[in-house]
Symmetry: C2
Subunit: 346 residues, 2 copies
C-alpha cells in the first residue's frame, strides 16, 4: 500500500476547506471536499482528517452535524503556508489604472480613487492613508505674513507634497526678517525629514549660544507649531456599501459593528502607521491582534512608496472570510500604481 504523507494531506484538505468556505460562505462538509478532490479521497477519510484539523484548532463546527468552518488560526495557517498568489486579470488592472491614473487628477483624487479601486476590485472596503509628511524630506519652505500676528508657512517636500500651515506668532516679523529666516531654513534643512526638523533645530539651538541664538529661536518657533502635521492624519475610505453584500452581515448587528470599526479612524490610523514600517503585505485576521472589539473582521495592509521611500499605506477591510489571495495581489498592485501616480503628480 502506498504510503501517504498525512501532514501534506491535512494541508491540502485545509486548503480545500478554506477555499470552499471563502467561496460558498456555508460550512463545508466532507462530501463537498471529496468532490473537490474528484473523489480521489472518500468522505469518510476526509472526516477523519477533519477531526484532526479540528483538534489542531484550525477548523471548527458551528454546531454538531454542520460542516466545518476555518478558525482564525486556520486562516492564519492558510495565508502563511498554503496561499498561492493570484494574478489580476487585464480587466481588473485596467479598472484600477483608469481610476488611479485619471486625467487631470490631483493627490486628493488619486487617494480617493485608490480607496474606491480597492473596494471595487476586491469587494471589501478600501482604506488609503495620506502620505506621511513626517517621513517626507524637506525641500523648500516659504514664509509670509498673512497679517500682523500670523504667518503662513508653505513647505514643499522632495516627493512633491505641499503642506501649508497658518501659525499665530505673538511678535510681528518684518518682511526682511521673514526672508532671512526663509533663506536660512532653506539652506539649513535640505535633506532633513519633516519629522526630524524639530529635534534638528533644537540641537542647533543648543550648539549656537551666540548672537545667532535669537534668530534661530524664531525659526525653530515657527516650525514647532503643533498642527503642522495634523491634517495628514486623514484616511480615505470607500466601499461601506459593498461590504453589505457579504452574507455574514445578514445580521444587522454584525453589520453595525463592522461599520463602527470602519469609522474608528484612530484605531485604523494606528494600525496603518504601524504596519507602514514593514515592507509588503501584512494580514490581521479576526481577533488575532485587532485594535478593535472582538469580531469576524480581517484587515490586509500594504505600504506604498514614492521615489523608493515608504510614505503611506493602503488597506482592505472585510470579513475574515475573504479572498486573501486576490486581496493581497490587488493591494500590491494598487500600492505600486498609487506610488507611481504620486510620483508623476509630485
Amino acid at each position: 500500500m502506498k504510503k501517504v504523507d498525512t501532514e501534506s494531506r491535512q494541508k491540502s484538505i485545509l486548503n480545500a476547506i478554506v477555499e470552499s468556505y471563502v467561496d460558498s460562505a456555508t460550512p463545508v462538509g466532507s462530501r463537498a471536499i471529496a468532490q473537490r478532490f474528484r473523489n480521489a479521497i472518500s468522505p469518510a477519510t476526509i472526516r477523519n482528517v477533519m477531526a484532526d484539523l479540528e483538534e489542531l484548532g484550525l477548523i471548527m463546527q458551528p454546531h454538531t452535524s454542520a460542516g466545518r468552518v476555518p478558525t482564525d488560526r486556520g486562516y492564519r495557517f492558510y495565508v502563511d503556508s498554503l496561499l498561492e498568489p493570484k494574478h489580476l486579470t487585464k480587466e481588473e488592472e485596467s479598472v484600477i489604472n483608469k481610476l488611479i491614473h485619471a486625467l487631470g487628477s490631483d493627490i486628493e483624487y488619486a487617494m480617493q480613487n485608490a480607496s474606491k479601486a480597492i473596494s471595487i476590485v476586491t469587494n471589501v472596503a478600501g482604506v488609503v492613508l495620506m502620505p506621511r509628511l513626517k517621513r517626507s524630506i524637506f525641500k523648500h519652505i516659504e514664509l509670509f505674513n498673512m497679517d500682523d500676528s500670523r504667518i503662513l508657512a508653505v513647505i514643499v517636500t522632495t516627493s512633491g507634497f505641499v503642506k501649508n500651515s497658518i501659525m499665530d506668532f505673538e511678535e510681528h516679523l518684518t518682511r526682511q526678517e521673514l526672508t532671512r529666516i526663509t533663506e536660512f531654513l532653506n539652506s539649513e534643512l535640505e535633506g532633513v525629514s519633516l519629522g526630524d526638523i524639530k529635534s534638528y533645530l533644537t540641537r542647533k539651538l543648543l550648539e549656537e549660544r551666540d548672537s545667532f541664538y535669537t534668530f534661530l529661536k524664531r525659526a525653530a518657533d515657527i516650525l514647532s507649531v503643533p498642527g503642522l502635521f495634523k491634517a495628514d492624519d486623514h484616511l480615505y475610505f470607500d466601499g461601506a456599501a459593498c461590504i453589505m453584500s457579504h452574507p455574514e452581515f445578514m445580521d444587522i448587528k454584525k453589520a453595525r459593528l463592522f461599520l463602527r470599526a470602519c469609522e474608528d479612524k484612530k484605531g485604523l490610523l494606528n494600525l496603518l502607521n504601524q504596519d507602514m514600517e514593514l515592507e509588503g503585505v501584512k494580514i490581521h485576521i479576526g481577533k488575532e491582534n485587532l485594535y478593535n472589539e472582538i469580531q469576524e473582521l480581517s484587515i490586509v495592509t500594504c505600504n506604498y512608496k514614492v521615489n523608493d521611500m515608504t510614505v503611506g499605506a493602503i488597506a482592505a477591510i472585510g470579513p475574515t472570510r475573504m479572498e486573501y489571495g486576490r486581496v493581497i495581489s490587488v493591494l500590491k498592485y494598487i500600492s505600486n500604481e498609487l506610488g507611481k501616480e504620486l510620483e508623476s503628480l509630485g
Copy 2:
C-alpha cells in the same frame, strides 16, 4: 353642541400620527392616538379622520388592518405646517461645542468633527461640505518656482482659507518675473471672488492689447490651470454605523441602498451645492426630488457662513422617519458654530 373645526383637528391628528410614528417606528393605530389625546377624542372618531387623511394622501396603511404610516406628502405637510422648533439641551450643545471648538484644531478637524457632531446628536449620518473656494474672496497670492517647469501658487482668501496648486508651465519664469506677476495679481485681484478670477483676467486681457499683453497673459495662464478648485469637492462624512440602529434597515438590502446613496459623492455634492444658494434649512423627503434611486431617505441641509458669507453647507441623511424638528435645530446650531470656528481659524 360645540362646533369642531375639522381642519384643525385633522392637522393635530396628523401631527400626532407623525410624531408617534417617528418615535415608535411602527404603524400607529387609532387607539394609540386617542391615548395621546388623553381620550378626549375616541378611537372611532380618529378612525374617521384617519380615513380622510388617507384620502388626502397624507397617510397610508402598509396593509389592511395595520396602523397608519405617514406618506412623503404627509411628512412634507408636517414639516411645512405643523413642525414646531425643538430646543437643544445644554448637554447636546456642549457635546457639539466640544467637538467643533476643539483645542489646537484646524480646518480638516473642524470639518470632520462637525460631521461627527451631526451624526452623534441626531443619530443619522452627517455630511459636511468643504468651504467653496469659488465663493471666497481673493486676498493674497504667492508664486514660486518649484523647479524648471513648475510653479507653486499659494492663494489666501479673506476668510483665511489657503489653497495651493502646482502647475506645469512650459516656459521658465525667472524669479523677477514671478515677483512682478505676484505683485500685479495681488494689486489687481483684491476683492475678486476666486470663481470670477478667470473671467476677470480674460476681460482685462481683451482691454489691454498693448505691450502689457504678454505679461497679463502669463498671469492669466497661471491662474486658469484646471484643478485649482478641484480638491475642494470634498465631503466629510460620519455616522454610517449609527444609521444601522434604525429599524427600517433591518432589511439588509435597504441598508445597502442607503449606504450606496451615502457614498454617491457626486449626487450629494450636487445637492449641497444647489441648496447652499438658499438661506437656512432645506428638506428633501423621500422620493420627492432626490437625486437618487427611489428609497425611503430624507436629506436635510443647511448652509454655513464665514464672515456673513455663505461658503458651504452641512447635511443630515437618514430614513424619512426622522426627527425633523431636532435635526433642523441641530443643523442650524452646528452650521452656526462651524462658521464661528472657521472664522477663528481663518
